[in-house]
């Protein structure tokens, strides 16, 4: 249970199971927001399936009944300066 599920944010399996039980969570999005799992540099790319499986077990559902994490752009980290140069005039 001390398994690290989210390596970016160092969130353990126990922390995720505890949060699901304490707050009656039903979605991976809630787990992410409450525990920080999936919020790090890789944006859940490696841990999302693991969190989904834990959620499925805790709520007695099949994996395909648990909604995947909603994706948030950008797909890869991008420098603030690069974003600033994208479009629009100075203001």
């Amino acid at each position: 249970m001390d398994n690290i599920i989210c390596r970016c944010e160092e969130v353990t399996e126990q922390e995720i199971r505890d949060a699901i039980r304490q707050f009656d969570l039903r979605s991976v999005d809630e787990v992410k927001r409450l525990t920080g799992a999936g919020m790090g540099l890789c944006q859940g790319r490696s841990c999302e399936p693991l969190i989904r499986r834990i959620m499925a077990q805790e709520t007695n559902r099949g994996m395909n009944h648990v909604q995947p994490l909603s994706s948030r752009p950008p797909t890869k980290p991008i420098k603030l300066e690069a974003l600033a140069q994208e479009k629009g005039n100075e203001s």
Binding site: D24, I78, E81, S91
Partner: protein
């Protein structure tokens, strides 16, 4: 699956959960209905967790309410038995435009008269205290009543405490109909069954007008989109972890004036609002535009957010942005004030929405007021400015 409740709360955001908690605390049997499969998935989960005091207009009826709600946050973690990450960070309002100086000097003076702990700092003093602040910043206002919270933890914390006192939460539940008999609320019909109840509290945020329509009311709220960027974690700032743009004191909160501006950034409602979380990441907000219920971010607004951030916090131009998100503030297009109210001629129907960007800020107090309205028929502070009857005669207007 038919049930009975004293109060049905509609909406599982920070307002609905606060209402559920405060009512359960007063002994009411509460059922909260949320259409999505989870709590805090709308505006409550798409903001920056700021509780800003000095951004209010000094003469606004909201100032006193904001200060009281900010005060309630200080003891909230202890009260609900769960740490919501409240921190009295204070707030630094920065200007990059010398022309704004007379305006914000007046703002600071009026706030001082109201007893807010506030002072003006020159650009060089600010940079000495906080070396990451950019050279463009000419002056600023610092104020110490403001704070930040983790909005997910506030929402789930209220829900957790409410459940412990017997409140029931129905997720992924849709409302078909609200039953009324002789101008009294009698029941809510959902896809999971019928719930008989004497009271309904509409806390459905930007979706509240749909609930209003079910009982023939026009709730003058529309979705105001807000976009936010999240950075990688950075070392903690020395003094200010909550910094914002003096545009908020002039144009940014004035939707009408912003819409008429010749400047595209201003029209998109982009003004800087920067919060460093306890993980070290910064959230960079925010924009304000009206795009219906489309929560896809736009590159245009994102780019302006980044540009604006670099002006204020120049040294962060090299940092990585790892995520963006958008949500819908419930914007009251009649006067940009929340609606916390009973409704004339419809006994048992209450409204708690229209907070726009102040939902997290006012959540503790909103829940308290609604519980007082239901159990005592009065509130502990005057909230006439927030009553629903102020919209009389404008039923057919829309935003």
């Amino acid at each position: 699956m038919n049930k009975a409740a004293d109060v049905v709360v509609i909406g599982g955001g920070v307002i609905g959960c606060s209402v559920a908690y405060h009512l359960a605390k007063r002994g009411a049997k509460v059922t909260l209905i949320e259409k999505r499969e989870g709590l805090c998935l709308g505006a409550s989960g798409s903001n920056q967790g700021g509780v800003p005091v000095a951004l209010s207009l000094p003469e606004s009826p909201l100032l006193g309410l904001i200060r009281e709600s900010a005060r309630l946050y200080k003891s909230l973690s202890q009260e609900i038995g769960y740490d919501v990450d409240y921190e009295q960070t204070g707030l630094l309002i920065c200007s990059v435009d010398e022309k704004q100086r007379p305006h914000f000097e007046k703002h600071a003076q009026k706030m001082q008269e109201k007893g807010v702990n506030i002072r003006i700092l020159e650009g060089d003093e600010i940079r000495k205290l906080e070396p990451v602040i950019g050279d463009d910043v000419v002056a600023g206002i610092e104020e110490w009543e403001s704070g930040t919270v983790n909005p997910f933890k506030v929402t789930h914390g209220f829900a957790y405490a409410a459940r412990k006192m017997g409140a029931e939460f129905l997720l992924a539940t849709n409302i078909y109909k609200i039953e009324i008999k002789e101008n009294r609320i009698t029941a809510v019909v959902t896809d999971k069954g019928r719930i008989t109840t004497d009271y309904i509290v509409t806390a459905a945020g930007a979706w509240s007008p749909e609930i209003g329509q079910m009982v023939g009311l026009t709730i003058p709220v529309k979705p105001q989109r807000g976009q936010i960027i999240v950075t990688e974690p950075l070392p903690f700032n020395e003094r200010w972890k909550y910094i914002c743009d003096a545009d908020y004191l002039s144009i940014a909160f004035n939707a009408e004036a912003a819409a008429k501006s010749t400047d595209l950034r201003t029209r998109l409602g982009v003004a800087g609002n920067y919060v460093q979380k306890n993980t070290g990441t910064w959230t960079i907000g925010s924009s304000r535009d009206f795009a219906g219920y489309n929560n896809q971010g736009t590159m245009e607004a994102t780019s302006y957010l980044a540009k604006r951030m670099i002006k204020f916090l120049h040294k962060y131009k090299e940092v990585n942005c790892i995520r963006t998100y958008a949500g819908f503030r419930p914007f009251c297009y009649a006067d940009d004030h929340p609606i916390i109210s009973k409704v004339d001629n419809l006994s048992g129907f209450l409204i708690a929405t229209g907070h726009a960007g102040k939902g997290v800020t006012l959540a503790p107090l909103t829940g308290k007021f609604i519980s007082e309205l239901i159990t005592e028929n009065k509130t502990s502070m005057p909230i006439d400015a927030l009553c629903f009857s102020r919209f009389k005669g404008m039923e057919n207007e829309s935003g």
